[in-house]
């Protein structure tokens, strides 16, 4: 049997080589499908990897608290959850105070995101963010300061720290310290400018290059004296107390929220699941295209294999007369379709990386090359070859040897 497989492989290679154009066009279907899958997977795991790094840089004992119950980000693909954006936030100033009282906390920092116009020489881009937080924020996230300093306790409240893109946008310059700008028509003085980070994908969901950081108390004032918290970052004193701290936080919040679990406590890998809905929508969209092209490619394989079987009817008769069993014939054609889909898959895998690499120029993270993705591409290729090659192969195997021998007589 092993020797026969070598025979079939040789046979299939020859057949593919003898009709190059046809085989190539057939492979193209698989190639496109596998390429899109590879591109998506490598890009999305590239994005995940960035956040993973951020988390592991923090030493692994960070806890992220977000309002609203945990949802599977993939669910967002087919269940529109946009309304969620308009739900009232469930994390309040009171929650923050209560959690701060818990033992074993090393650092705690809330993030409150505001919208509003930032102006200086020019107006800032509309996607710029105003982030109201505490000085502890930078102890957790560790942003690099280009110039000046980060927010600090006890300094004047009308001070702001800005990201590099924002600085360039409104001042046309990287040196912004000492300059004035207005946020929601209130005057602020820049006390620090951040180094460019290129990590708009991060667990804080803040594009730090394009954000203005102000004090939480100022943010409260800008927001009609209400604090709306999007995220609380907590770092535990030590890894030993980590689990206890999580359950403490959960208990505290549940008590404050009269038993309702309307918040999420995320740790480790869960934080790194990109919650960016847009990202998932795009991913889902491309996945759907990939799935369609895989099916179409598979039908192409089936079509060509049926033609091949018809063309070789006589050969099938000869082979049977010479001692080939039905199973031998089936394998012969199945291996041929498998080879087509495997070569197509291999090309697609390479092409997928190429696409990912080119696309990543426009993005801020690099595609990831991993065995998992290769395995997925391989599995898809094998599956396609088998699923779409089986029917033609069975047809070939069942051909009547006598009728086959008289084909084209």
């Amino acid at each position: 049997m092993r020797l026969l497989i070598a025979h079939h492989l040789d046979n299939a290679l020859r057949s593919i080589r003898s009709s190059r154009v046809r085989s190539f066009l057939t492979m193209l279907g698989v190639t496109i499908g596998v390429a899109s899958v590879t591109a998506i997977l490598s890009l999305s795991s590239g994005a995940n990897k960035i956040i993973d790094h951020q988390i592991s840089d923090l030493g692994g004992n960070i806890i992220v608290i977000r309002p609203g119950p945990t949802t599977d980000p993939l669910n967002n693909l087919y269940r529109g959850q946009l309304q969620r954006d308009y739900f009232a936030g469930t994390l309040t100033e009171n929650d923050l105070t209560e959690i701060s009282k818990l033992p074993n906390i090393k650092t705690i920092s809330p993030i409150m995101m505001l919208s509003g116009a930032i102006k200086a020489n020019n107006s800032a881009k509309s996607d710029s963010m105003i982030v109201a937080t505490t000085p502890e924020f930078n102890k957790i996230t560790d942003l690099e300061i280009h110039e000046g300093q980060f927010l600090e306790n006890g300094i004047s409240s009308d001070t702001v720290v800005i990201g590099s893109d924002l600085s360039r946008g409104i001042f046309n310059s990287d040196s912004a310290v000492g300059r004035k700008l207005t946020i929601r028509n209130q005057a602020f003085t820049v006390i620090g400018a951040l180094e460019k980070t290129d990590t708009p994908v991060n667990y804080n969901l803040i594009d730090t290059d394009n954000a203005a950081f102000i004090n939480l108390s100022v943010g409260k004032k800008l927001n009609q004296d209400v604090i709306q918290i999007q995220q609380i970052n907590v770092v535990a004193q030590s890894t030993n107390d980590f689990d206890k701290l999580i359950s403490d936080i959960e208990r505290t919040l549940q008590k404050e929220h009269s038993g309702e679990k309307d918040f999420s406590i995320l740790t480790g890998q869960k934080i790194s699941q990109p919650t960016n809905r847009f990202f998932y929508t795009i991913t889902g969209f491309i996945t759907a295209i990939a799935a369609i092209s895989l099916v179409v490619g598979g039908i192409g394989i089936m079509n060509i294999m049926l033609v091949t079987v018809a063309e070789r009817t006589r050969e099938i008769g000869i082979r049977k007369a010479l001692g080939a069993s039905n199973r031998d014939i089936m394998w012969q054609f199945l291996i041929e379709s498998l080879l087509i889909s495997l070569i197509g898959g291999a090309l697609g895998y390479d092409l997928g990386y190429l696409i990912a690499l080119i696309t990543s120029n426009a993005l801020t993270f690099n595609p990831v090359m991993s065995w998992d993705i290769a395995l997925v591409a391989l599995a898809i290729s094998i599956l396609m070859g088998v699923v779409f090659g089986l029917y033609p192969a069975i047809r070939a195997a069942r051909k009547d040897p006598i009728e086959s021998l008289h084909e084209y007589d």
Binding site: L4, H7, G317, G323, S325, L405
Partner: protein, 269 residues
């Protein structure tokens, strides 16, 4: 006869093969009883459509839908699994066809090596064995030609080489010289005759009465039944064939031809 074994190689009992259904039903074989011993060279003659090829296909285990009994080496063919049947085709039976039936996209040596693949022999060994057998047919210079580059006679010799590469005990030839000129036919018949002398059982379907001179037994068929069944060869003739060169052989051949001529005359009546 030197090579007669205890069990007959092939035994057919009341073999029937029908085509079509209802009113359109016709018998391709209509009660064939036949026993062929090991080492016989049987020529099967008869008009077109009398069931010769059908008989050959059944004996070659290619056609398995028939009524009646077919015993191959004492085993009922019905009771053999499909897979085992393929194995028997691979190892015991060699087919030779009128239209040669080489695989057009494989070269000569690969065509000859093809049956060995289904026997499970490795690639290199296959080619060595194929090369060896092609040498006995003086075709080793053509090993890497494609089938369409050979003449009809050469192609048929390749086909015979392919039929023999597995050392089958039974050779089924369906009009092996039907597409060849008389010179090439002569060469092919000499090859078959040589195989017969090696003790192979040969069943040959032919339209050409002259070719029956090589056979040890001539069967004529008519309307799906065996019409006449004549054994021609005696031990004496066999000996004479072995020991003599051309002149004697032609003499014997002449004698056989007379017999078959008589037989065909009878048939015409």
């Amino acid at each position: 006869m030197a090579t007669t074994a205890k069990t007959p190689a092939i035994r057919l009992k009341n073999l029937e093969k029908r085509f079509g259904i209802g009113d359109a039903e016709t018998f391709a074989l209509n009660g064939v009883n036949l026993t062929i011993r090991n080492g016989e060279f049987v020529a099967i003659m008869g008009p077109s459509g009398c069931g010769k090829t059908t008989l050959l296909n059944i004996i070659g285990l290619l056609d398995t839908s028939y009524d009646g009994e077919y015993e191959l080496d004492g085993v009922l063919a019905d009771s053999i699994s499909k897979r085992k049947q393929a194995k028997i085709r691979s190892q015991q039976i060699g087919f030779i066809f009128q239209n040669f039936n080489l695989v057009p996209r494989l070269n000569i040596i690969e065509n000859v090596a093809l049956p060995l693949a289904y026997k499970g022999i490795g690639h290199t060994k296959r080619l060595v064995m194929a090369s060896e057998i092609l040498e006995t047919f003086h075709l080793n210079e053509r090993e890497y030609y494609m089938p369409h580059q050979l003449s009809g006679g050469q192609t048929q010799r390749v086909a015979i080489a392919r039929a023999l590469v597995n050392q089958p005990s039974i050779i089924l030839a369906d009009e092996p010289t039907g597409n060849l000129d008389s010179r090439a036919s002569y060469a092919i018949m000499e090859e078959l005759s040589a195989l017969h002398k090696q003790g192979k059982t040969i069943l040959m379907v032919t339209h050409n009465p002259r070719l029956t001179t090589y056979a040890s037994r001539v069967i004529t068929m008519l309307d799906g039944q065996i019409d006449t069944d004549t054994k021609v060869v005696t031990d004496l003739a066999e000996e004479a064939l072995k020991n003599s060169k051309l002149p004697k052989k032609t003499r014997i051949n002449k004698r056989r031809q007379n017999k078959t001529a008589r037989a065909s005359k009878r048939k015409r009546k």
